[in-house]
Amino acid sequence: MDLFFQTLVNGLLIGGIYIAVAAGFTLCFGVLHVIDFAVGEWVMLGAFAVFWLNFFTGVDPLIFLPLIMVLFMIVGYYFQPLLQRVITNQQSNALLMALAFTFGMSILFRGSALTLFGFNQRSLTTFLSGKNFEILGISIPALRFGATVFAVLVTLLFMFLLYKTKLGLAVRAAAERQDVAGLMGIDSSNIARIVYAIYLGLTAMSGTFLGSIFSVHPDMGLRYTLFAFFVVVAGGLGSIQGAILAGIMLGLINSFVAVYVGGQYIFLILFTVLYLILLVAPKGILGKGW
């Protein structure tokens, strides 16, 4: 029974980080209608960015979190117009173009990282690494706990922004009807840039955590791209609440499969679960709706 609770806690703790990726990824899909195949590579780049910052300065990786977030938000804000051009510039099939473009990006990023950094797995050591504390006989790794708490707080902040501020109102309007949002005086193209910036900030932040908990290497991304797909489809395309639920579920499935079945079966089981979810609820857990 102890093992069960330990696994449950581990699953919830890792699920907290997936939530941050899921929320950003879903928002990006909802507003830009772009399924970003490179999401895992942004995780990887976030992890590498913090790795090199740590390598050259010796300062604790977690201290760099705010910097990483801001840095990737800036990247996202200036990168988005390029993506926008590719997907709307007289293209007849924008969704397909977006897939092809982001898929190409992911290959480019992964290939570049491999060439520049090599195959080596690198580890990030933070001030929380290797520390544990116990609650009710369950040992809780401090790093995972800290990462999850931080990720959940950031996600809550993000939800507050989306539902309680004027900017959030504009984002939700643009997500539902971009053309009508324009008629309300909302600059949809700028909203799209802001959304992409937030998405990259959240994703890179998660990369820092995932890199510290596991390891940093050029191939780490693919796994998270598949996870992101699971979360968005299982949660219901475009539903943030659904994605958050699915993110927690993903953490739990990961944790239980690793302990009770074997880590190599994770994708088999994950996508079987997704299949079953879609059989029962074709629109995903929460369907579409904010």
Binding site: L169, A173, E176, D179, A181, G182, M184, G185, I186
Partner: protein
């Protein structure tokens, strides 16, 4: 400074297909002007071009002394023109109140927004009753009220209304047109696109009759209402 809307030689194309072939018209401040015509005559296309939703091919659009034909829609809205699009374009996943707040997105005058919100609720008491309901759960008539209310919340001096009567029960159609008159009495200008030509001409000052992307006829509303061609083609009567 010229006020109102002045459209000259407007041409609009979808790809290679030209839908509007050089249309000129104007709407003076405080007027209700209607564009009437059959399905596919280009009425909605003209409104979309005027509000910047779609690019124009040729011509010029001047609103309150500013050339707006190259501006994106959010800039046009900021100049004081509000377009109530065909099909209403309600944000279905937002509450009625949030829909109205989106309307006021580009304004910063808290006081003015509050005054306009009260004005909208007075004009449409139904919206006040349902302010917490999701936009998507409203009936067709209520959605139309919300669309007009939301446009008023932009603080616009001019409203473009695209088929406000579409799909509504006759009683509701009448009340929507009564609202148009109320809005005009507040000093606002209205450009009204309608298939319900009889109703539109009853409240309008002037009108233009569109046929396949060209203006076929124009004049005072009562002149058009009594014009044999118009009454035959659009008013369903052959009184002539």
């Amino acid at each position: 400074m010229a006020t109102g809307l002045n459209v000259k030689n407007l041409k609009v194309a979808y790809g290679n297909i030209e839908a509007v072939h050089g249309v000129s018209f104007d709407v003076k401040e405080g007027e209700i002007v209607t564009l009437i015509g059959a399905n596919g005559a280009g009425k909605s296309t003209i409104l979309r071009a005027v509000s910047g939703m779609i690019p124009i091919k040729e011509g010029s659009i001047e609103f309150d002394g500013t050339l707006t034909d190259r501006l994106p829609s959010h800039k046009v809205t900021q100049l004081g023109m509000a377009h109530v699009p065909e099909g209403r374009g309600i944000f279905t996943r937002m509450s009625v109140l949030d829909n109205l707040k989106v309307g006021a997105y580009q304004r910063n005058d808290k006081q003015g927004i509050q005054t306009d919100l009260e004005m909208v609720f007075e004009l449409f008491p139904r919206l006040a009753e349902r302010s917490q309901q999701l936009g998507g759960t409203l009936s067709g008539g209520e959605q139309q009220m919300l669309a007009v209310g939301r446009a008023l919340m932009t603080g616009a001096s001019m409203l473009l209304l695209d088929e406000p009567s579409m799909g509504l029960a006759p009683v509701l159609v009448e009340s929507i047109f009564e609202v148009c008159i109320d809005i005009r009495e507040q000093g606002k200008t209205i450009l009204l696109v309608e298939q319900n030509a009889a109703m539109a001409l009853a409240i309008a000052d002037r009108g233009y009759v569109l046929e396949t992307g060209n203006i076929a006829l124009s004049g005072q509303a009562d002149y058009l209402a009594n014009h044999p061609e118009v009454s035959k083609a659009y008013l369903g009567g052959d009184i002539a």
